[in-house]
């Protein structure tokens, strides 16, 4: 009897729970969730980190690395979302971004200069679609998993409003912009891949780093923006609202007019 009540006491204690998870696997907390034990997480973090470093094209590895290393950054993002009305609405409605929830054809009919049109133009010019996002699998708390998912799905918007292409040096610049703005550790570690760039690209990136850090840190926390409500807003007004200013003009592989379903390699988040 006495022993029974002790057991019960222990099951309630979170530290012991954490310890027990080393040996046993709890049930999934949300559809698609893969609960991992502590050693598994450590292994995944190291493995995906190495893979993402040497082959940045492996978007899935970058995604896993982001989830493994998110740590306390996600609760901070959640806190910021809860603090403002717009962010709360996102958490309550939990919107998703892909080609079935966003009517890209309707967006392309919007007048030039609107955020929706800018986004579609950017998609076309880079030859990417919003459907290539990996679902979140390894974040244990369902709400934090949504925050991670939201971050991942909004990543393209940061490219679009800043007019940044998706080749590696710009990708790193956007990642550093995100690090200054959102604080996810993965985005900072993406900055490390700078050392693997050829000298010419590295020189170009160094023009963007000061912008990324200044602009990212002074802008409003972009995770709290309900982008889907702002399709009709003028993109310059939007940038003004968010406190974002233009980076130095990037060099595109293709001029704007020729944008078709191109071959640019999308570096996934």
């Amino acid at each position: 009897m006495r022993l029974g009540s002790r057991r019960q006491a222990q099951t309630s204690s979170p530290v012991f729970k954490r310890v027990r998870h080393v040996a046993t696997r709890p049930p999934p907390a949300y559809p698609g969730h893969v609960p991992l034990t502590l050693p598994e997480k450590a292994f995944m973090a190291v493995g995906s980190g190495l893979m993402a470093f040497f082959r940045p094209q492996r978007g899935d590895m970058v995604a896993v690395f982001g989830e493994m290393t998110a740590g306390p950054a996600l609760p901070q993002l959640l806190d910021r979302m809860l603090e403002c009305e717009e962010g709360r609405r996102i958490l309550k409605e939990r919107p998703r971004i892909n080609s079935s929830t966003v009517d890209l054809a309707a967006l392309s009919r919007l007048p030039e200069g609107t955020f929706g049109r800018t986004y579609v133009n950017w998609l076309e010019r880079c030859g990417v679609t919003p459907d290539t996002r990996e679902p979140v699998r390894y974040v244990d708390d369902p709400e934090l998993a949504y925050v991670m998912q939201r971050y991942r799905e909004c990543h393209d918007f940061y490219h679009a409003i800043n007019g940044m292409p998706v080749s590696v040096e710009y990708e790193i610049a956007v990642k550093l912009f995100e690090f200054a703005n959102l604080g996810l550790p993965m985005t900072a570690l993406a900055g490390l891949t700078t050392i693997r760039l050829p000298p010419k690209k590295r020189a170009r990136l160094s023009e963007y780093i000061p912008w990324a850090l200044r602009c990212g840190s002074s802008a409003r926390s972009l995770i709290t923006v309900y982008w889907e409500e702002r399709w009709n807003q003028n993109v310059e007004d939007l940038k003004c609202d968010l406190g974002v200013w233009d980076p130095p003009p990037p060099i595109w592989r293709k001029p704007l007019g020729e944008a078709t379903g191109g071959t640019a390699t999308a570096v996934e988040v």
């Binding site: 204690s13 530290v15 502590l38 450590a42």
Partner: protein, 568 residues
């Protein structure tokens, strides 16, 4: 035998001193040996203890001065099932003292509630410590043989009992509806304190006892400085009503440490409990002014929702109040329901509260772990919601010197403490007990009860004890106000290790007054002996250490990842 003679000699001597003084003072001034200012629990306990003392009641002329109307307390009568909102947890040490003094038999026992178990947990990490008087074999035994560590008593119930007790001792006169106008030093005859009352009476005190609360006029007269600080918190008190448990007894107290302050649920009866919720002053103001139904659902969620959601709810309430709107029950309920949904709290979970009917939730087999949380509050007893500021203060000395000689401080006049450990009233009662022992001792040896040497024993014994208690409670409050990762981790690991060590827990309970009289027996040694005796004792310690180390390792990994992310 010789002691007996000495004591009789002492009594005779005091009587002689008394007569001489009577002859030399003016007729308008009433000669007193002990003047107690303040008719709160500490002052009344002191008067009661003097009435039941060995020597004091025969020779001392005692007056108690109270500004309020004591007859209201004497006639205080609440219907069964209704409770006053000022409730204290009376430790067994205090109960034993009141029993010896003779006050306890006048306390309405059916209005008190023995506390057998206690659940205390961390608002951020959920690390939990459980105290059980029965399992740890600590505490007093009630009539039915069940051990309890403390007893919840309404302050008014206690005060009324003391007044009933004092009615049997007419030698102690109570002067109520008499405010202390001024206290001055007498110009001749050694400068004794003269207490001028609003009734026109003047009392000349051989010993002036300040039991007059935080803003003590006696302390001001004695020029005793007091140090301390206000906490940035305000305590909300209320009497809560909940559906009765079907299976478990109602003798568990619950306390959760939120970063804004602890919230406590203290059992009073199978369907009532007392709330002490210390929180930020603006939140306390908003919640006490709002519809009591809002406070009730906020109380339920404050024991259940993760800290991030409590913070969110607090911010929402602040936002709504700042915008000038009034808090709407449905709106807050929706917000809580949404947060529960976000945390995937199912409707049958013990953590669900917003959309659960408190009456049906107690029917049938309770969900797993439901004993870890207090029952759902369905409403508050009308007119019991109140709030007051919290502070720590300690007088620099308990005894006046020089111009302030012949004064002594007890209870809140000497020290005020955060209520998180429920030690405030108990401290005052133990002060009274110790002061009466000092006075009795002084009478036995024939010394002047107002002299510094006679009182020094009281100050020596109580000051250090109160100071240790005050500082422990203060540090606890500070430790649990922090949201810093490493601090939360360290305190959680510490609590989980302590939770495995019954000997240590029993020691904590004894030092918090769970045992009636520590001096009489040696429960601590008995406990140590029995735990060493049982083989499980050693095994338990090893197990706890192992688990502690494991959790420490998990914590180190977590800290490493935090540090990595801390750069953001």
């Amino acid at each position: 035998m010789s002691l007996h003679i000495a004591s009789r000699a002492g009594v005779r001597l005091s009587q002689r001193i008394l007569k001489r003084n009577l002859a030399t003072t003016a007729a308008t001034v009433e000669e007193c040996d002990v003047v107690i200012v303040g008719g709160g629990p500490a002052g009344l306990a002191l008067a009661s203890a003097l009435a039941s003392s060995q020597n004091a009641w025969r020779v001392l002329k005692v007056r108690l001065v109270e500004a309020g109307d004591l007859s209201k307390i004497r006639e205080w009568n609440m219907p069964p099932g209704a409770y006053s909102n000022r409730v204290s947890s009376l430790t067994n040490a205090s109960e034993d003292f009141l029993n010896r003094v003779g006050v306890w038999r006048h306390v309405a026992q059916e209005r008190t509630c023995a506390m057998e178990d206690m659940q205390v947990w961390d608002g951020i990490s959920d690390a939990r410590i459980e105290f059980s008087a029965n399992r740890l074999e600590v505490g007093s035994r009630s009539g039915s043989g069940v051990s309890y560590m403390a007893r919840m008593v309404e302050n008014l119930n206690l005060q009324r009992a003391a007044l009933t007790h004092l009615e049997e001792h007419p030698s102690i006169q109570l002067l109520d509806k008499a405010k202390v106008e001024t206290i001055v030093n007498e110009e001749t005859n050694g400068g004794w304190p003269l207490v001028h009352l609003s009734t026109g009476q003047t009392l000349r005190a051989r010993l002036l006892v300040g039991a007059d609360g935080f803003n003590s006029p006696v302390r001001k007269f004695a020029r005793i400085q007091s140090f301390g600080w206000s906490y940035p918190t305000q305590a909300i008190v209320a009497t809560l009503r909940h559906a009765p448990h079907t299976i478990r007894p109602h003798t568990t107290a619950y306390q959760r440490f939120l970063p804004t302050g602890p919230i406590a649920f203290l059992p009073l009866s199978p369907t009532s409990a007392s709330l002490v919720w210390s929180t930020r002053p603006d939140l306390a103001a908003a919640l006490t002014k709002a519809d009591p139904a809002i406070l009730a659902i906020m109380i339920n969620s404050a024991f259940r929702l993760p800290n991030i959601s409590m913070k969110y709810l607090h911010d929402r309430i602040r936002g709504i109040v700042a915008s000038g709107a009034t808090l709407q029950l449905d709106e807050i309920r929706q917000e809580i329901a949404w947060r529960e949904q976000s945390h995937q709290i199912e409707s049958h979970s013990p953590l669900a509260s917003a959309l659960v009917d408190p009456f049906t939730s107690v029917v049938g087999v309770p969900p797993a772990d439901s004993e870890l949380y207090p029952p759902l509050v369905h409403d508050l007893q009308p007119d019991t919601v109140a709030s007051f500021p919290l502070r720590l203060s300690h007088a620099e000395s308990y005894i006046g010197e020089g111009k302030g000689a012949r004064t002594v401080l007890i209870g809140d006049a000497a020290h005020t403490v955060h209520p998180l450990a429920g030690q405030g009233l108990n401290g005052g009662l133990l002060d009274a007990e110790c002061l009466v022992r000092s006075i009795d001792g002084a009478l036995a040896t024939g010394s002047d009860i107002g002299s510094y040497t006679a009182l020094a024993r009281y100050a020596r014994e109580r000051y250090i004890q109160n100071h240790a208690m005050l500082s422990a409670v203060d540090k606890l409050h500070k430790l649990y106000s922090s949201e810093l990762g490493p601090v939360v981790w360290a305190r959680s690991v510490g609590v989980e290790i302590i939770n495995e060590l019954d000997v240590l827990k029993a020691g904590m309970m004894i030092s918090a007054g769970a045992n009636a009289n520590v001096m009489k027996g040696s429960p601590g040694w008995n406990l140590l002996a029995s735990s060493v005796e049982s083989v499980s004792g050693g095994v338990q310690i090893a197990k706890a250490l192992r688990q502690g180390l494991q959790s420490a390792a998990a914590g180190v990994l977590k800290q490493a990842s935090n540090a990595l992310a801390g750069r953001s």
